[in-house]
C-alpha cells in the first residue's frame, strides 16, 4: 500500500523518540490510546500510517482498532496540517458575526475546503466550535495565534501577510543553505 501522507516520516524521525518518552511515562497500556494519539498529533500535526503503526505496537493494540479510534474522533486528522493552520471559529457568537462569510472567503482564496491543505503545504483550513473569545467574534486562529474581530478585508490581508512571511522564511533558509554550502567548499 502506498501512503503519500507518510512521505517525510521515517522510522528514525526524532519525534518518535519524543512520543516514546511520553508513552513510557505511564501511558503504555491500551487504556491510554487516546492520550497517546493526542500527543502524537501534537508532535506530527497529523496521524499518518507510520505513526498509527508505531502507537499500535507500543500499546499492544491492533492497528485496525487504532485506525477505528482515529477515524471516530473529529479531532484526529489523517491529513497533514499546513505550515499555517487556519481555524475558523464557527461557534454561535462568531457565526452570528459572519464567520460563515469569512470561511467562504478563505475557501475561495486558498482553493481548499475545511480539512484540506494547499498543494504547497502552506495553509490548511479547519473549523472549530468556540475558542472562548466570543467578545472578539468573529475569531480565527492561525497556528494558535488569535485574530479577533476579523473583517473580510482583514482576512485577505492576513493571508497575504502569511504568504510574505513564508516567502521571507524561505529566502532566509535558502541563504543559510547557500552560506553553509559556501563554507563547506
Amino acid at each position: 500500500m502506498t501512503c503519500s501522507a507518510c512521505k517525510g516520516i521515517t522510522p528514525d524521525d526524532p519525534r518518535f523518540a519524543e512520543l516514546d518518552a511520553f508513552i513510557q511515562d505511564g501511558h503504555s497500556s491500551a487504556d491510554f490510546l487516546i492520550a497517546v494519539l493526542h500527543r502524537a498529533q501534537q508532535l506530527f500535526g497529523y496521524l499518518p500510517e507510520e505513526v498509527q503503526h508505531h502507537v499500535a505496537a507500543a500499546l499492544g493494540v491492533p492497528p485496525s482498532e487504532v485506525y477505528g479510534v482515529v477515524t471516530f474522533y473529529n479531532y484526529f486528522t489523517l491529513t497533514p496540517v499546513g505550515k499555517y493552520p487556519i481555524n475558523v471559529c464557527m461557534g454561535t457568537a462568531c457565526y452570528v458575526q459572519g464567520a460563515g462569510r469569512i470561511l467562504e472567503l478563505f475557501e475561495k482564496e486558498l482553493g481548499i475546503q475545511p480539512g484540506q491543505v494547499t498543494p504547497d503545504g502552506l495553509f490548511s483550513l479547519d473549523v472549530c466550535r468556540c475558542v472562548g473569545a466570543c467578545g472578539l467574534a468573529p475569531v480565527v486562529t492561525v497556528a494558535g495565534e488569535v485574530h479577533g474581530k476579523l473583517t473580510e478585508s482583514d482576512a485577505l490581508k492576513l493571508v497575504a501577510e502569511l504568504r510574505e512571511r513564508a516567502a521571507a522564511d524561505q529566502a532566509e533558509a535558502g541563504a543559510a543553505v547557500a552560506t553553509v554550502g559556501g563554507e563547506s567548499q
Binding site: 500500500m1 499500535a56 493494540v61 492497528p63
Partner: protein
C-alpha cells in the same frame, strides 16, 4: 443463585447471568442481531430491548446482568413497538434488494422483520455510502447490507486474534473496514471467513464463483473433475434440512454427478498422500535434527496468518502442499496421463469448507502441473446453491461411490476434516513405519483428538522415541501456541494447526446453522463426531494402506519425498507485511 421474574415466571440463574441468557435458559428467545455469547455483548443493535421494573427506559437484555428480585418483561406492547422501530430504522438505511442477496434464505434481519410484522419501511433518511470489496477473491464485503453489529469484528479479534477489521468512521460514515480502509486482499486478514459465519446479513459472504463453474460444466471441450474435502460430507445435508453432522457422502457424490462433473473424486485421497509425504518429512526431520517442531500446512488461513504474523516459524512449516493443491497438481499430470486427456482441457473444481482455499488456489506458485492446479474453489454453501439451482434435493438422491483412482481414501484421510485429525493420521502411519514388527500398531490416538477452542498437548511414544505433540484450532489459539514456541517456553516435535475453531468442519465456508451463530458450538461437535464415526467404520484406516496411493507411488512418484514428489507436492512460504499487521 439470583432469583428474578421474567414474563411473570420465577426463574433462578447463576450470578452474573445477563437477562438475555437467563431468558434463553428459560425458553424465551429475546431477538438479537449483534449478540455473540461472551465475545460480543455490546447492546449495539438494540433488538434485545426489554422492560425492567423500576429502570428508566428500556434495557438491552444482552448487557444487563440479572439482580435479585428483578422483574423483567420481554413481551409488552412497549417492547414490541420499540423493537419494530429499531427494525424500521435499520431497514431505512439498508440495501433492500433482498431477493438478490446470497443470504436471502437465512438472513437474520429479514427473519426478524418478518417475525415483528414490519410490513413497510416508513422511515426515509440518510444512507451510508455503499462500499464493495471483492478484491480478495475469497470474501465479498458489501457495506450496504451491514448493520454494524460488530460480530465480525469480535470474531476476528477474540476467536481468531487477527483484528484485521474494525469499525471506522462515525455516524453515516461508519463502516467495518481494515486499517486505512484497504481491501481485505491487502489487509492482515487471513481470509478464514469466520466473519461470514456470524454476519447476520449479506454484508460478509463467500466470493461466489458458481457461475464460472456452471460455464465450465457446459463447455463441451472441458473435462471437469471435482474433489470434495472431508468436511463437506458431514455438513452438506444441513442446507437441505438434515440435522447437523448427517453423513451424506453417497448423496453428495450422486448430486455432483448430476450437476455434470465428469469425474467425482475425493480430497481424502490426497489427504492420504499428504500423510505419506508429511510423515516422511517428520521422520527425516527427527533423524536429521530439524528444523523442529514440524508444523502442518494444510490450512491456508493458518498459512496466511503465519506469513503475516510469525515469519520466524515459516521454516518449521511442512513443505507439503495442502491436500487440495496436491490433488490439483496430480489431476493435471498423473490423472491426465493415465486417462489420456490434455491437461489444458481439464478443469479442477474443489468443494471446500473454506474461503481461504479460494485464495490458496490462486497463489501464483500453485501451478506445478504447468497450469493453475486448481481452477475453482466452491464453498459448501455455494455447492448447496448449485444443487438447488439444479433442482437437486440431496436427501432424495441415492448413494453413489466416488470414481477411481483419485476417489479412494482411508479413515485417516477422512479425519483431516477435524482438529487433531491430521496429527492422528500422521501418527498412525509414523507408528506403522517406526514399529514395523508391532503385531497391533496403534490406530486411535484419542490423546490428540482436538476439542474446539482448546490447545491439546500429548507425549506419544513411537518405537521408544517420545514425541511431544500439540494440536491447536482457531487462529487465536495458534497465535498463542506460536508465541510459546517462539519464546522457547514450549518444546514440541510436531504441531497441527487448523485456522478455524474445530478444524475444517468449522470452516468459514460451511453452512450457517439454521439457528444462527449460537448453534455453532453444537454443530461443530456433531460434525466432528460424524467424521470419527466414518473413520471407525472404514476397513482402511491408515493412509499408507490406501491402494490408490500405493499405485500412484509405484507408477508415478516412485517414493515419498522423491524428486518428482517434491516438484509436484511441495511448496514454500513467503513472509508478508500487509497493511495493519501489528509488528511484534
Amino acid at each position: 443463585m439470583i432469583n428474578l421474574t421474567i414474563d411473570r415466571r420465577p426463574v433462578s440463574v447463576e450470578p452474573g447471568t445477563t437477562i438475555l441468557e437467563a431468558a434463553r435458559q428459560n425458553g424465551i428467545r429475546i431477538p438479537t442481531l449483534c449478540y455473540l455469547k461472551e465475545i460480543n455483548q455490546i447492546g449495539a443493535c438494540r433488538m434485545c430491548l426489554v422492560e425492567v421494573e423500576g429502570a428508566r427506559g428500556l434495557q438491552t437484555a444482552c448487557t444487563v446482568p440479572c439482580t435479585e428480585g428483578m422483574v423483567v418483561r420481554t413481551n409488552t406492547p412497549t417492547v414490541r413497538e420499540a423493537r419494530k422501530l429499531v427494525l424500521e430504522l435499520l431497514l431505512s438505511d439498508h440495501n433492500i434488494e433482498c431477493p438478490t442477496c446470497l443470504r436471502a434464505s437465512n438472513c437474520e434481519l429479514m427473519q426478524l422483520a418478518h417475525d415483528h410484522g414490519v410490513s413497510q419501511i416508513p422511515l426515509q433518511g440518510a444512507h451510508h455510502e455503499a462500499h464493495l470489496d471483492v478484491g480478495s477473491g475469497a470474501i465479498a464485503v458489501d457495506s450496504s447490507k451491514c448493520v454494524l453489529c460488530q460480530r465480525c469484528v469480535a470474531v476476528c479479534r477474540e476467536v481468531q486474534g487477527v483484528s484485521a477489521i474494525s469499525v471506522t468512521g462515525r455516524g453515516f460514515e461508519s463502516r467495518v473496514s481494515p486499517f486505512f480502509d484497504v481491501s481485505l486482499s491487502e489487509a492482515a486478514c487471513a481470509l478464514c471467513g469466520q466473519c461470514t459465519l456470524v454476519c447476520p446479513t449479506g454484508a460478509l459472504t463467500e466470493f461466489d464463483e458458481t457461475e464460472a463453474v456452471w460455464r465450465a460444466l457446459l463447455d463441451p471441450n472441458k473435462h471437469v473433475v471435482v474433489q470434495t474435502a472431508p468436511a463437506i460430507r458431514v455438513s452438506i445435508g444441513e442446507p437441505f434440512g438434515l440435522p447437523p453432522g448427517s453423513v451424506s457422502t453417497g448423496q453428495m457424490v450422486a448430486g455432483l454427478r448430476r450437476l455434470g462433473f465428469d469425474q467425482v473424486f475425493d480430497t481424502v485421497f490426497s489427504a492420504d498422500l499428504t500423510i505419506m509425504e508429511e510423515a516422511t518429512e517428520l521422520i527425516q526431520r527427527l533423524q536429521s535434527g530439524g528444523p523442529l517442531p514440524l508444523i502442518t500446512s494444510c490450512s491456508p488461513g493458518w498459512i496466511k496468518y503465519a506469513e503475516h504474523f510469525f515469519p520466524g516459524v515459516l521454516e518449521n512449516l511442512s513443505s507439503c502442499k495442502s491436500p487440495q493443491q496436491m490433488f490439483g497438481a496430480l489431476a493435471k499430470t498423473y490423472y491426465a496421463e493415465k486417462s489420456g486427456i490434455d491437461p489444458a482441457n481439464i478443469v479442477v473444481v474443489s468443494i471446500m469448507p473454506c474461503t481461504a482455499k479460494k485464495y490458496e488456489a490462486n497463489r501464483p506458485e500453485m501451478n506445478s502441473s504447468g497450469y493453475q492446479d486448481v481452477d475453482y474453489v466452491l464453498t459448501t454453501r455455494e455447492l448447496a446453491r448449485m444443487f438447488r439451482q439444479a433442482g437437486i434435493h440431496l436427501p432424495d438422491l441415492p448413494e453413489e461411490e466416488f470414481d477411481s483412482p483419485l476417489g479412494i481414501g482411508t479413515g485417516a484421510g477422512t479425519i483431516f476434516g477435524t482438529t487433531g485429525g491430521v496429527m492422528e493420521a500422521a501418527l498412525r502411519t509414523a507408528a506403522a513405519w517406526l514399529e514395523p514388527d508391532s503385531p497391533s500398531p496403534k490406530i486411535e490416538f484419542q490423546e490428540v483428538r482436538g476439542i474446539p477452542f482448546q490447545v491439546r498437548e500429548a507425549t506419544v511414544s513411537l518405537n521408544g522415541t517420545s514425541l511431544n505433540v500439540a494440536v491447536a484450532n482457531g487462529l487465536a489459539a495458534a497465535g498463542w501456541l506460536m508465541e510459546q514456541v517462539s519464546t522457547g517456553q514450549k518444546d514440541y516435535h510436531f504441531i497441527e494447526i487448523m485456522g478455524c475453531p474445530g478444524g475444517c468442519i468449522g470452516g468459514g465456508g460451511q453452512p450457517i446453522p439454521a439457528r444462527g451463530p449460537e448453534a455453532l458450538d453444537e454443530v461443530r461437535l456433531a460434525r466432528i463426531a460424524s467424521l470419527y464415526t466414518i473413520d471407525e467404520r472404514m476397513t482402511l484406516r491408515r493412509s499408507h494402506e490406501n491402494p490408490a496411493i500405493q499405485q500412484l507411488y509405484a507408477e508415478y512418484l516412485e517414493k515419498p519425498g522423491s524428486e518428482r514428489a517434491h516438484q509436484l507436492l511441495h511448496t514454500h512460504y513467503h513472509a508478508r507485511v500487509p497493511a495493519g499487521v501489528r509488528r511484534r
